[in-house]
Point group: C2
Chain length 341, copies 2
Amino acid sequence: MEPKAPKITDVARLAGVSTATVSRALSKPESVAESTRNTVLAAAEKTGYRVNLSARNLRRQRTGAIVILVPNIGNPFFSEILAGIETVLSESDINMLVVDTRQAHMKPQLVLEYLHATRADGIIALDGSLPDAILAVASSGIGAPPIIFACEWTPGGEFSSVRANNAHGGELAIAHLAGLGHRIIGMITGPDDNVLTHARSKGAIDALTEKGLAMAPEHVFAGDFSLDAGARAAQSWLELDQRPSAVFSQSDQMAFGFISELARQGISVPGDVSVVGFDDIAIAQCFIPALTTIRQPRKKLGLTAARVLIEHIGASSNPPIETTILDVELIERDSTGAFAG
Amino acid sequence: MEPKAPKITDVARLAGVSTATVSRALSKPESVAESTRNTVLAAAEKTGYRVNLSARNLRRQRTGAIVILVPNIGNPFFSEILAGIETVLSESDINMLVVDTRQAHMKPQLVLEYLHATRADGIIALDGSLPDAILAVASSGIGAPPIIFACEWTPGGEFSSVRANNAHGGELAIAHLAGLGHRIIGMITGPDDNVLTHARSKGAIDALTEKGLAMAPEHVFAGDFSLDAGARAAQSWLELDQRPSAVFSQSDQMAFGFISELARQGISVPGDVSVVGFDDIAIAQCFIPALTTIRQPRKKLGLTAARVLIEHIGASSNPPIETTILDVELIERDSTGAFAG
DNA sequence: AACCTTTATGTAATCGATTGCAGTGCAGCA
DNA sequence: TGCTGCACTGCAATCGATTACATAAAGGTT
């Protein structure tokens, strides 16, 4: 009447062998005689047996899961990275435990829970700005599960990371605009304390310097990667006496907000101002005008991070810190045009 | 030398009590004398003890996780729903295990793994088109964990679900367009076998009928909710002799693809054709033109689904099938205008 | 034939926390 | 004083699978 979940002893009884043999037949098939194996598999099939993961994990001293720390799950930018991670994990029978760190910045205790080995065998952090207290614990000692940063990273460089060549992206953006004849170029940045902001800004400034150009402080609009920040930058741009004829936006979202707000005020892109984005999210090619942008290999970021982490988990000793940098590329579309005097 | 993770016996020894008392002090504090409790908590703090979840789950016969079946993690539409789910779960110390079902449609076996009670205490499916074989198992019997559909649902109605009032959304879209004077109205649909497609189409057709209008078969463009599908619909629209002066796109993404492709061909929105979308994703208000659309409460969908599921998990008996329908609303922006003759 | 390998399987300890049951001590009450 | 009841706490079984070690059988060697 009560259809309880069959356990390994049920299979063993039906197959007429010991539980040890059943366990082996299922996880190390080659260590068991073929005839026995067939009997066991048939019995397992017949009973509908599934291994109890809590029991297995307890015995094996692992959790079978890795946690992904995402700054904001609602942000579509991260979803493609998650997809990449998932692709790799689904082949390794490791589960993906997604945690949003937004409220966590309020409550470091809560995130700390997730960093302990009892929760996960490893961690992928998409959030470079985790509180120091958390990082200290994460990096402390042998018991802690391996952690790897994807996309963002920590300034100190104490952790392995997989990231895009952000500085080069900044260079490409500027080189493109300068190549079109623009001399006064503005920039919409990410948050002040963000490593991506720094890297992209540095690349941009370096490229300008190399061409003998500079960027006036009032042409740098402080943003935070969001649509709103782009719209705010547009307001600032409108109020300038000397307006840049081109703007490098450090995220596509901000570029959309920027262009959209300008359009509302009758300013056209690329007619009145050229705009380069960063990320190449899906909608970029359907925006009007289609957005010229720096493509980040987001899926590959996820794939690579997951692969590296799995390797680290497998390694017996403390693996070395490993930094992987992926190439970016400029995708030229319709939001940039030649400087028109 | 080897800093092994402290276990409950370590805490017990340090506090001078039994493991039973430690366990109780931590999980049912009121069942233990105050002085003892303090001693135990101090000892736990001192050793840095964290409960081993595999052991607890094994003993308690649960997994502490629920799985979310997402058709495509990379699709930003789902991310807000995930955010809603996460918000609720983070308060319940239940983990969120995200699984992409794309490759799963190839391999039902793989998804089946996740539906078993050994993996999760419950399931939220954002994918209404799971293979029947899977659903059969999921609904079969007492051992199976509760499952609830969010956003999409199954035609048979054998499962609880939380969804938006899609039919009403279709009605609102058509009413809006008809109110602007449009008489020949087209529609870009989702996949043929999708419940959302059916509901939205039905609402649209009903609203037309009520106004004495009809929709010609050649004005129905078969899509799949993607950007590309919208672009394809634009091609079809261009080839028509009699072109609809307004189009209801069953997703914002398709609306973007549609408008973008039309723009490329010199057709303007809303000048030459009005467009209403569905979803109100973030970018809709920044698109040019800003998109008139039907807003779905995506975050609330996630919140509600998670709450209902948690309730079901808590319930001892088989809970009744429960359908929650959330309101949608029309957000009027710039992609629709009065019929101009 | 005696002995050593190799292969296949079983026995039983183990992972770490939870919890039913039993015991202890103390207060209240007749 | 003796008894009952209550509040705490401890003992030990238990969750289900894995695996080190022991055992047994079969094959090979001299």
